[in-house]
């Protein structure tokens, strides 16, 4: 090949046609931006109480060895632990009167509630069950906050350093049953 021919080929270098690539990109970006969600969805588990079959009624211990009930009326969070009188005063309570029209609890109220559950867990380290009895007017946001605070320890809880099992599984009271929903 002569020197002139080689020079001609170099001059006539093919250009990359970017038009189809740009077309695809311009279609893909608006589609992805419109359909993408920029938050993560998590799930909170709540079990419905299962009726005890009549043949197993004799095996049920009365009163139960551990009975933790969280009642959430409009103005407070009431916590009953092995309470013999269901209408009596709760062992623990978090006042929430100032936030009764709000759809959320305040950070202080949630921290107090979580701290109470951690204290109860320290006394009953093997127990994981909890019954939740919300008021009919309680919005889902508050219900979700209660479920969220009850399931696991947080990394800032000092109790996880006191018991290696707490640190290993981080489980607070994950076995939550909705007391207000009776399913025949």
């Amino acid at each position: 090949m002569s020197g002139i021919k080689r020079k001609k080929i170099a001059e006539e270098e093919e250009e990359l046609n970017l038009t189809p690539f740009l077309d695809v990109m311009i279609t893909l970006i608006p589609f992805l931006m419109l359909t993408a969600s920029f938050f993560s969805v998590v799930v909170l588990e709540a079990k419905l109480p299962t009726p005890i079959p009549p043949d197993k009624m004799q095996e049920v211990k009365m009163p139960p060895p551990f009975d933790l009930v969280v009642m959430v009326p409009k103005d407070s969070i009431k916590i009953y632990v092995n309470n013999k009188d269901p209408l009596g005063p709760p062992q623990y309570a978090v006042a929430a009167l100032d936030r009764k029209d709000s759809t959320t609890f305040s950070d202080e109220q949630l921290k107090s509630f979580h701290a109470i559950l951690v204290e109860i867990k320290k006394k009953f380290p093997t127990e994981e069950r909890m019954a939740l009895d919300p008021h009919p007017a309680l919005p889902l946001e508050k219900l979700s906050e209660i479920l969220d605070q009850s399931k696991t320890f947080t990394s800032t809880d000092a109790a996880i350093n006191e018991n290696p099992e707490f640190k290993a599984n981080m489980r607070l009271f994950p076995g939550i049953a909705m007391k207000g929903v009776y399913v025949p």
Partner: protein, 183 residues
């Protein structure tokens, strides 16, 4: 990534003095735009989620916010409850009305069957039958009574109760409530 040599030629204006008509091609450099678009597409594709909870998300439903929980949703049937409609897997079940007695969102009288929402229970019975049929063919996919509840954050518990009760009666006793995670 860079698309080297990307450019488009456009005709330049007149250059030079004294009216000399010298037309030079002006090359539009597309490389930075292609770089930016590629990065954007990769980011969007990586963050794209097709889980059922995200797909069920709509403008009518604003999820609750939670701080601690980080459990991700599994592939489940989804009950969606907004202020004006109850849906199962995106199919409308019944409208949601306002109860004049207490002002809570409620369901029309025609859909009630005792303590249950009849159309929801019927639809969930079918979902359960399908899940059990799948379990018979593939024992690795057992029916475990889990259902995802995708409801608006302001819905009161009084409205959630009949939905949960209907789900429980159809065999779905493990209710997974969808929420927005902070992590």
């Amino acid at each position: 990534m860079s698309a080297g040599g990307g450019g488009a030629q456009v005709k330049g204006g007149k250059f030079g003095r004294g009216g000399a008509n010298i037309q030079r091609p002006v090359v539009l450099n597309l490389t930075p735009m292609i770089d930016m678009m590629t990065i954007l597409v990769v980011y969007l594709v990586m963050s794209y989620s097709a889980d059922p909870a995200t797909l069920a998300n709509s403008k009518d439903i604003q999820l609750s916010r939670v701080q601690i929980t980080s459990e991700k949703p599994k592939e489940l049937s989804v009950i969606s409850l907004s202020k004006d409609m109850l849906l199962l897997d995106g199919k409308p079940i019944c409208p949601v009305i306002i109860n004049p007695k207490d002002g809570y969102p409620d369901f029309p009288d025609s859909v009630w069957s005792g303590f249950f929402i009849a159309p929801l229970k019927e639809a969930l019975d079918k979902v359960k039958e399908n899940a059990q049929a799948i379990e018979r063919i593939n024992p690795n996919k057992p029916f475990n009574g889990e259902i995802l509840l995708h409801a608006d954050h302001a819905i009161p518990f009084a409205t959630l109760k009949p939905v949960m009760r209907s789900a429980g009666n159809a065999g779905f006793r493990q209710i997974k409530i969808a929420a927005k995670g902070m992590n």
